[in-house]
């Protein structure tokens, strides 16, 4: 499950719930008392008109008193009415009649300002508002009411409780949704990514088969089409290389026969002609060598030339190789030393292994100084056998080491040309080692020498299950 995506969804969801809940509760709080305030306010408006018709400010008027008692009882509270001189003319509690109210909110109300406050603990609201007289912005008195708002507070508490419950429920749903979303959509994507990585390592027939939902299935199908197309392109490339190599080999063979025939004919050829013919012959040899290497690589790429595992005595393979290269080494007075630590039998394709190790040994002699040495070792443990080829040659610069296994790559092109190298030897060696499930490493220091280490499994690898 993608944690950042999940956390993002959950955070956004819960934050939204919290904001909406806050806005709702604030709005509810602000307007909780609107109804009671509105009814009181409209009562006071009509009271003002009624008082104007009477002498309420100077003497008690039963009809007005009756209405004031009604509103006090209706709101379960206390009503006080004071005149413009702050003198109480009506008190439903009968205690402040005739007294002067030196209360800031009362004095302020005479200037036209309303006052509203709620004591949530006691469940009591205080509302003070001016009583209008006949003229605009003129107030003849003040209306004070202190009343119970238990019902509103209870309602508000219920709203808060239910809002909290809804917010919590929504948050749980959002968390569940986040889990479901990341599981349904992200997990398949992770699986696709893993399987794509595996595809590049194994069978060419491997296909992607992740089908959790329609979108992921579409992605799988599209990826499979891309894989098919890329396989097709690779096959075409390999076929092209193979075909071209074949086509080139035929005229090369003819040219070789003709040049050999001319050189061995015994005819009296001018020196220049003989010299040129000799060069042509050696170029044809070199070209044949390149074409052969290309063909070998093309076969390995296509994997049609699969590794034919046979139980092989590796010690004997090394003997054959060293015997072959000894004349070459003697020609340069290079000492070849072979150290065998144990008898090794392994499942390998002997011809191919021979080619791979031969390339290393030939390079060790080719790129060595006269009078240098080549040191070859063979060792093994329960799972792998190890061959190292070490020389005292010119070495390879650190910047070049990562490229030496690339096709046609030459560290010193001029020198390679003189020695007849194709630039494909190490690429072929690496392909053969990889095909055996092995590994090749190189350590080198300029002007000191190079060591190649090859590790190959003793037993042939078990066939991996295809992805299809």
């Amino acid at each position: 499950m993608s944690l950042p995506l999940f956390l993002g969804i959950v955070f956004c969801g819960i934050a939204s719930c919290a904001v909406i809940s806050f806005i709702f509760i604030t709005y509810s709080n602000r307007h909780a008392y609107d109804n009671s305030k509105k009814s009181i306010s409209s009562f006071v408006d009509s009271l003002g008109h009624e008082i104007d018709q009477t002498s309420f400010w100077t003497e008690s008027v039963d009809s007005v008193n009756s209405e004031l008692y009604s509103i006090a009882n209706g709101h379960n509270g206390r009503v006080i009415v004071a005149d413009a001189g702050l003198c109480v003319v009506f008190d439903s509690y009968h205690t402040k009649q005739g007294k002067i109210l030196l209360v800031s909110e009362i004095i302020s109300a005479l200037q036209g300002n309303e006052y509203f406050d709620v004591n949530a603990e006691e469940g009591i609201a205080t509302y003070i508002l001016p009583v209008s007289s006949g003229s605009e912005n003129s107030y003849s008195g003040v209306f004070y009411i202190r009343y119970s708002v238990h019902d509103e507070l209870t309602r508000h508490r219920i709203i808060r409780r239910y809002t909290a419950m809804i917010a919590v429920s929504l948050s749980i749903i959002i968390v569940a949704f986040g889990i479901a979303l990341t599981t349904i959509f992200v997990q398949p994507l992770h699986r696709i990514s893993r399987e794509l990585a595996e595809i590049s390592d194994i069978s060419p027939d491997a296909r992607l088969d992740v089908r959790n939902n329609r979108q992921v299935s579409e992605i799988s199908d599209t990826m499979n089409k891309i894989l098919d197309r890329s396989r097709e392109m690779e096959e075409n490339r390999q076929n092209f290389v193979s075909d071209v190599s074949h086509e080139l080999k035929t005229p090369m063979t003819s040219m070789k026969i003709l040049s050999d025939a001319l050189l061995m004919s015994g005819a009296d050829l001018p020196d220049t002609v003989r010299e040129f013919l000799t060069d042509i012959n050696s170029e044809i040899d070199r070209e044949n060598h390149i074409i052969s290497d290309l063909l070998a690589l093309a076969r390995m790429d296509r994997k049609t030339d699969t590794v034919k595992y046979e139980r092989t005595h590796i010690n004997e393979v090394l003997d054959i190789i060293l015997n072959r290269i000894r004349p070459m080494a003697e020609a340069k007075q290079i000492e070849v030393v072979c150290e065998i630590y144990r008898d090794v039998y392994a499942d390998v394709d002997a011809p191919k292994l021979m080619m791979a190790i031969s390339n290393l040994c030939v390079n060790a002699i080719t790129y060595n100084h006269e009078g240098g040495s080549v040191y070859v070792t063979l060792n093994a443990n329960m799972n792998y056998f190890y061959i190292t080829v070490q020389d005292t040659g010119c070495g390879i610069a650190e910047s070049e080491i990562s490229h030496i296994f690339e096709r046609f790559y030459r560290v010193d092109k001029d020198r390679s040309r003189e020695t007849g190298g194709t630039g494909l030897g190490l690429a072929i060696t690496k392909e053969i080692v990889n095909a055996h499930g092995g590994q090749i490493k190189v350590y080198s220091k300029l002007n000191e020498g190079t060591t190649f280490s090859v590790r190959i499994p003793i037993y042939k690898p078990l066939r991996k299950e295809g992805l299809a």
Partner: protein
Amino acid sequence: MSSLCATTASRERDRSVLRSVVLLLCLLLSALLLCGCEEEYGVEDNPEETGSFYYAFDVAAKKLVRRSTEFTGANASERIDELLSMMVAKRELSEDKTEISATRLYPSDIVMVGWDISPEGDLTVTLEGEYSELSRTREALLRAGLVLTMCQLPEVGRVRIRIGEETLVVNQKEIGFMQPSDFVRDIGAPGDIVTIKLCFVNDAKKDLVTIDRIFYPDDYKPREQYCLETLFSGPLDSENNDLKKGGKAINAIPEGTKIIDVTTKGGICYVNLSKEFQTNDKTVAGHLVLHSVADTLILSFDYIDKVVISVEGKHLRSYRGEDVPSALTVETGTE
């Protein structure tokens, strides 16, 4: 070079525009603040502050302001004169016109002619001038300032204002002697001491016995409600100590009875009780229980002439087998 000059000129223009916008915003804000700061009448003091004081009226702030002072007068008369002088200009000094009325309670066009005090502590202050020009709110505040200031002296119990030879009339009513309790700073503050008459059924269960009790209502509940709650809690042991057997007070109100609401209108007190009131107790006659409630209210509050009792909002027509009149008056013999 010319492009550089153009850039500099452009920056200068931008800065000048920005300055203008900021100035305009500041002016707007100030205007808004000032609009919101229009002064209103009010009182600025701390009633719990101790020490001698007098009240002045801040004309600019339109507020009654309490100021500390130290008396220098040696006797009551000197102190009265001293305090009055701080609040009202004397007639003889008013011609000087050097006094700034903003430091006094009354404006300069109202002067004090004289004052006198009775042995009982009733102070009469005689003023002269444009008293009728004062707004009603301001007049009430000035009157409060004068009474509260003068009544701090132990020799002064009440204060009366006369305008010339006439008693002060406000809103067609004559304003007589006033005392500090006539001015309320907190509507919910504890009110006056109230003595109520609790009418309990006697232990012989044949009559009512009246006991006086003092209480201090805090003014957030109707006094009638306080009174009934006191009645329902029953007599105190100490109240029965002086009463003989047969005449001792008992609580005959059915247990668990609650007061749903009680209001008084037009001399009639409407009492709404909970259903527990109708619990049948044959040992006490229904009319005694009803009159225990009614007589307590009528005798305690002079504005209540009759009592109407309801149970759960329904008017009580009969109680414990007896008919109940529509409105109860005092039971004959109850005092």
